[in-house]
């Protein structure tokens, strides 16, 4: 199959199908309703199902139930919808169900607005729901990368028996770019007989599976949490993803930026290079696990005078950047979150100001 021109939201739907996910439960919300629109058309063509829940709360538990039965399942929503799902996400994480969540972020808090934002960084990476859980969070910067990450999300969710979240801002959902889809994957989860309540027919032994998040015994609950923690540590070892940009130069400033914001930063970096000022960038592709070592190592390069976290939020990721840099370089934040994406010119000014001060 050649390239097609797709909106991010449509590409998310198609990528899920090609990853072998034929169950999509969702409730519409701007700016991601096109996923539901696309899949309401496409799912019947491939023998799959789109079921619109009566609310996001209901959707979260539909996902929980279907996943517990060993079905590959996913949803998409936008910020307030993810807030509603957050209780269910905690249950899904607690019960170790491999569900894929997509959040196409809009401006917040509250009803906020419908334009692009990255204001749900904390919610995604630090847990929107209760208890000690983590999501594996991936943040695409293009429609093509969105396709790749959605397709990667299902096997990763199954590898860890943990929910995975794709975190995109409104632009990821709404912009159109040429994309190419890899061949149909459709791999069945290999480990579901070990844990899913998928019936006894295919069971080799008589072991009955129970999917739950309730552990009244304190020792058992502690052990359960230790098991979850071990998974999150393993993610940090095995599934950190990031992309360096212009870091083979003697850059004066290091930008940390993700999602579509990083593409504005790229344009700014290219323009500044033409002016003779080198700026490097680390773009986290996974927000949890966060590329801690890569950011630390890039920050302490001798030429680097400052690190700036540029985000469409009021300073969320910058807290993780500060943690990585460990006070070895000044860490600054720049961002906007009303929906007006910072322009390359704004970013260039921010960086130039740093050069003047150092």
């Amino acid at each position: 199959m050649g390239k097609v021109l797709m909106k991010g939201n449509e590409a998310i739907g198609e990528a899920a199908i090609r990853a072998g996910c034929l169950n999509y439960f969702a409730y519409p919300i701007t700016p991601q309703s096109e996923v539901a629109e696309y899949l309401s058309r496409r799912m019947p063509e491939v023998g799959g199902m789109f079921l619109q829940g009566e609310s996001e709360v209901a959707v979260a538990y539909m996902l929980f139930g279907a996943s517990a039965c060993g079905e590959r399942v996913f949803t998409t929503s936008s910020s307030p919808g993810i807030s509603l799902m957050s209780e269910g996400i905690s249950y899904v994480a607690g019960a170790q169900c491999p569900v894929v969540f997509v959040n196409i972020i809009r401006g917040g808090p509250g009803l906020g607005g419908i334009l692009p934002s990255q204001g749900d960084y904390f919610q995604a990476t630090k847990g929107g729901g209760h208890g000690d859980y983590r999501l594996l969070v991936m943040a695409p910067a293009s429609v093509q990368e969105t396709v790749e990450m959605v397709m990667m999300a299902f096997p990763l969710a199954e590898k860890y028996r943990n929910p995975v979240m794709i975190l995109g801002d409104g632009l990821i959902g709404q912009m159109m770019e040429p994309v190419e889809f890899p061949d149909h994957l459709r791999t069945e989860p290999t480990n579901k007989d070990d844990w899913a309540t998928n019936g006894m027919d295919t069971r080799k032994d008589n072991k009955q599976n129970l999917v739950k998040s309730l552990y009244l015994d304190p020792t058992q609950l502690n052990d359960h949490n230790l098991l979850l923690k071990a998974k999150y540590e393993r993610m940090k070892q095995e599934d950190v993803r990031y992309e360096p940009y212009n870091t083979d130069t003697d850059y004066k400033v290091l930008i940390i930026s993700y999602g579509t914001m990083s593409r504005v930063c790229r344009t700014a970096i290219d323009n500044l290079k033409a002016e003779g000022l080198e700026v490097g960038m680390i773009r986290p592709q996974t927000l949890f696990p966060f590329p801690e070592k890569a950011i630390h190592d890039a920050a302490i390069k001798e030429s680097c005078k400052a690190v700036i976290s540029i985000e469409m939020s009021m300073g969320q990721m910058v807290e993780d950047v500060e943690r990585c840099v460990q006070g070895k370089r000044p860490v600054e934040w720049y961002g906007k979150c009303g929906g007006d994406v910072p322009t390359p010119e704004e970013i260039m000014d921010v960086v130039r100001n740093w050069k003047l001060e150092t």
Partner: protein, 242 residues
């Protein structure tokens, strides 16, 4: 070969076919050709990348725009300003209606049935064969049917808008032209014009096309790219000698 359109021109098509980019560029092209042009943003279904995004360059060129009231400009509410009916009742030399995608977006036209009644209207379907659901002639005809049912109007022309945005090649353009040409034959609808970006335009072999070609100066771009500078109003179309 010049684009021969005047009066009320309604731009419809499937979701993401490029209606807005085509509408904006058609407005600019006709304005440069000396026409009085007015354009209305009737997209009630799309939250981003709408005609209203290009309101500044268009008004600089002297193109009249009819938009939702300022305070509702960013709302995802289906607001149809009464000024639209007014502009249809008293059309200028070219009155362009940029309609939202699919049958859902075209439903708005049914609510304008009263002012549209009895008017001579060109309703044109924008087709990009690189979009899902319109990569076959059958798919395009299905969308045409759905839009006609929802709008209670008849499509009477086709616009070929073959593109993969920045990755479009001349080969794509020629193949896309052959596709819309075949669609024109299958549907009996005239091929009004096809589009080519100004970047690719110099490479194009004009003898390959039996219809006019509209140059596209891209206006709806993501924040890391610059929209093409439409410049001050010109008296002549940019490519009137081709």
């Amino acid at each position: 070969m010049e684009i021969d359109l005047h009066g009320i021109v309604v731009i419809v098509g499937n979701y993401g076919s490029g209606k807005t980019e085509v509408s904006i560029n058609l407005a600019v092209n006709q304005k440069r050709a000396g026409m009085d042009v007015r354009i209305a943003d009737l997209d009630l279904v799309n939250p981003y990348f709408r005609t209203r995004e290009a309101r500044n360059p268009l008004s600089t060129l002297g193109i009249d725009m009819v938009l939702p009231p300022e305070k509702y400009m960013q709302a995802d509410l289906p607001i149809l300003t009464p000024a639209i009916a007014g502009m249809i009742r008293q059309p200028t030399e070219m009155t362009l209606l940029d309609v939202g995608g699919d049958d859902v977006g075209a439903t708005v036209l049914a609510s304008l049935a009263e002012p549209l009644r009895g008017k001579n209207i060109r309703m044109l379907q924008v087709v990009n064969p690189f979009r899902p659901f319109t990569d076959t002639v059958q798919g395009c005809l299905k969308i045409r049917d759905e839009i006609e049912k929802a709008s209670k109007m008849t499509i009477n022309g086709i616009i070929g808008n073959t593109n993969l945005i920045d990755e479009t090649t001349m080969t794509d353009i020629y193949e896309g032209y052959d596709f819309v040409h075949a669609l024109s034959e299958a549907s009996g609808l005239p091929l009004e014009f096809v589009t080519i970006t100004t970047e690719l335009f110099p490479e194009a072999d004009m003898k390959r096309f039996s219809c006019p070609v509209l140059p596209i100066e891209r206006q709806l771009v993501p924040p890391w790219k610059k929209a093409a500078n439409l410049g001050p109003a010109l008296l002549k179309p940019a490519y009137n000698n081709i």
